[in-house]
């Protein structure tokens, strides 16, 4: 069963074709957000090089978020079009799940962190149990300081991965006990990782609905934003 995976959730753009347990090909660019310009060329190129026609693909997997607002819409729109045109199923996979999957079998907690701006990260906590990736928390958009608190309480080894790692590596190293960081070649959203999870989800849970499928943006609520702004504007009473 051939799955075409597409990831446009962050600055990187990636597409891959897997055939059951085998990666047939993968293209990853991690250079400027230019998804709308290069995505279709990437898909065309990977299919041509594999001597495949789009009709040979049995299903599509796309990163459904969280991530870049425009990026997610580009990926979703592209996959919806391909799915509708070929009448093949599509499935959405969390960007955080697929990042965590890059670090398969890492002991302790795997913590993907994606830059959500204003000092926040998109994150969730994972562990590998009996060979399977298990999510141990909600999907969160959270202030980095709060994430550090949360992880300090867990007292477990943590491995970070994601586009927020270069931004916060020093701070995390100073505030947590011996954190690990994904090596550069793994520290990018990979469509092959996404496609592999997509194949599992498609087999176990079935396809997402073509018409109602939508990206998962994960934003702070207005109440949370107002509360934080108020906290910032208050004179520093504690000092």
């Amino acid at each position: 069963m051939k799955i075409l995976g597409i990831d446009t959730a962050t600055e990187s753009a990636s597409c891959a074709v897997i055939d059951d347990g085998k990666v047939l090909g993968e293209i990853v660019f991690n250079y400027k957000k230019q998804h709308s310009v290069i995505l279709m060329d990437m898909i065309d190129s990977i299919l041509k090089n594999l001597k495949l026609d789009i009709s040979d693909i049995d299903g599509f997997a796309v990163s459904e978020g969280p991530g870049s607002f425009t990026g997610l819409r580009i990926g979703t729109a592209a996959v919806k079009g391909l799915s509708q045109g070929t009448k093949k199923p599509l499935v959405g996979i969390s960007t955080l799940d697929s990042l965590a999957f890059n670090m398969a079998f890492t002991p302790g907690i795997i913590c993907p962190i994606m830059d959500a701006l204003r000092g926040n990260v998109y994150t969730s906590l994972y562990e590998f149990e009996g060979g399977a990736l298990v999510r141990k928390s909600e999907y969160m958009v959270i202030d980095l300081d709060k994430l550090i608190e949360l992880l300090s309480d867990r007292n477990s080894q943590v491995c970070f991965i994601g586009d927020a790692v270069p931004l916060y590596r020093v701070k995390l190293s100073l505030n947590l006990r011996d954190p690990k960081f994904a090596p550069a070649h793994l520290n990018v959203a990979k469509a092959a990782s996404l496609a592999e999870l997509g194949l599992i989800k498609l087999t176990d849970k079935g396809a997402s609905d073509l018409h109602t499928f939508a990206p998962f943006y994960l934003r702070k609520s207005q109440a949370e934003r107002e509360y934080e702004k108020k906290q910032r504007d208050l004179p520093n009473e504690r000092l």
Binding site: S68, F69, T70, L117, R118, Y217, R219, Q222, R225, E226, K229, R232
Partner: protein
């Protein structure tokens, strides 16, 4: 910092001076009554950024994009009922990207404006005469302060 302009041309000229000194990631908030010249000031800023395209108020499409020496995102949030509407179009990705953002009626979305920004308030002194008050929040704007002094 206070400026008086007596004509539309003078308002545009002031905008130009500001625009020439702006850097990527700078945020300029412009508030003032209808017809006070917010868009004219933005036209000047655009000229200062090396944009020669015609600037129109994005009242209906909320944001217009222009390519210049630096990219410009021109917001008009007059029609926005709730800051959440703006947050929901990926506002943060615009204002924290490698571009200059000008936001008309920024008062409507105060909670979304980062602490560091330039705040410009325009008030009508007469039919053509305008009083333009500029406040700078954040060290990153020190260079513009000097240029305008």
């Amino acid at each position: 910092m206070n400026f008086i302009t007596n004509t539309v041309e003078e308002t545009i000229e002031l905008g130009k001076k500001i625009g020439r000194s702006l850097k990527p990631c700078d945020i300029v908030c412009i508030d003032g009554d209808l017809g006070s010249g917010k868009t004219h000031l933005t036209k000047g800023i655009a000229l200062g950024l090396g944009i020669d395209e015609h600037i129109t108020s994005p009242t209906f499409n909320i944001v217009n994009e222009y390519e210049g020496r630096i990219k410009l995102y021109h917001f008009d949030v007059y029609r926005v009922n709730d800051p959440d509407e703006i947050a929901a179009i990926g506002f943060d990705e615009y204002i924290f990207s490698n571009a200059v953002s000008v936001i008309e009626w920024s008062d409507y979305i105060k909670e979304l404006i980062p602490d560091e920004h330039i705040q410009i308030n325009i008030s009508n002194e007469s039919e053509t005469r305008r009083s333009i008050n500029i406040q700078f929040f954040g060290k990153r704007y020190d260079n513009i302060k000097e240029v305008l002094l």
